[in-house]
Subunit: 200 residues, 2 copies
């Protein structure tokens, strides 16, 4: 099997959420596996100096419309969250806590966290909400709570975020195939051609 | 014939240049005409507070790679200009000067100005370079020079830019179909579906 592709995303990102519905099938179609690597756009913005989309004049209004239209276009159910964007530290830590033990379940948790935020309007920036989402998957709340609060998990999360930024990731989704980066679900057409042809 | 679609772009924009190779055929396919409306991203950035792509950490490096790869993907010849981005006031004024007299030739001039900048590395921010591009199309240099310097043309250009921003345009290409905005050549898939179905 060819090398896995890396799928960087933020748990507060609408386009990352849309991509999460597509990336595994796309990878599998080309004999690859997608490694899910949540990170924090808040940390990215400290480097790039950029602002969250909703706070940018003109672009913010467009973005809201584009989230909804892009979801319809890609056939993915979407409900724009009441609180948006949110800090994604708690879900990201929960992911890496679980990922160290069971990557397959960590991916399930990531899907559940995305669904909670973008379908059920659950504010996963609140650690207790993230813990409740995990509990529905059968993960004991006490263990998740301890995991999120564990210094080793905090350090691991920070290391993953730093590593992503060091390799150039700045958006969500941000996908890397054999060193070639693709930013946005609107680069999935180029990504697909790249996977088919090994470059163009 | 259905209402024309509006094609907003900046003469310094790589994605606007790529879109300029596609927009007329796409419009025609759906029984529409594309009205070309150059405007100034420099003026937009005063409203949005954003910076030109190359000056944004991480995103700037990616953007350069994406310009080249997107050009290959869309099959459009592209040579990244030595001086980038540039102020696009001179080519935009030349366009509106000619557009008031002959919209068809104004579109030809726009194509020639894009080709000069993105194929031949001609810095069209220099008024004399814009005038030289126009002269190759048979437009007398003296007339173009007078047109660019004409206060009425300056006012018309400013009015067009203000109008674009007032309706929400903030990027290049930015296309409006029956009131629905599409930002980016990477929204041409959605644009095409919208044109086919009248919305989705």
């Amino acid at each position: 099997m060819a090398a896995p592709i890396d799928f960087y995303f933020d748990f507060s990102s609408p386009y990352g959420y849309l991509a999460s519905h597509k990336i595994d099938a796309l990878a599998a179609k080309h004999g690859r596996e997608a490694q899910w690597r949540p990170y924090l756009l808040g940390a990215v913005m400290k480097v790039t100096g950029q602002q969250p989309l909703p706070s940018i004049p003109l672009k913010g209004d467009y973005a809201k419309r584009d989230f909804l239209r892009s979801a319809r276009f890609h056939g993915v159910p979407y409900r724009h969250p009441t609180s948006f964007p949110i800090a994604s530290v708690a879900p990201t830590r929960a992911f890496y806590w679980l990922n160290a033990k069971d990557p397959r379940r960590a991916k399930e948790l990531a899907r559940a966290l995305y669904a909670a935020y973008f379908l059920e309007d659950v504010d996963t920036s609140q650690a207790e909400n993230t813990i409740a989402v995990a509990a529905k998957l059968g993960l004991p709340a006490d263990e998740v709570r301890a995991g999120i609060g564990d210094q080793a998990v905090k350090d691991l999360t920070k290391a993953e975020v730093d590593k992503a930024i060091a390799l150039g990731a700045f958006g969500s989704p941000y996908i890397v195939v054999d060193g070639e980066p693709f930013w946005g679900i609107d680069r999935f057409d180029q990504l697909e051609r790249w996977l088919s042809s090994g470059g163009f």
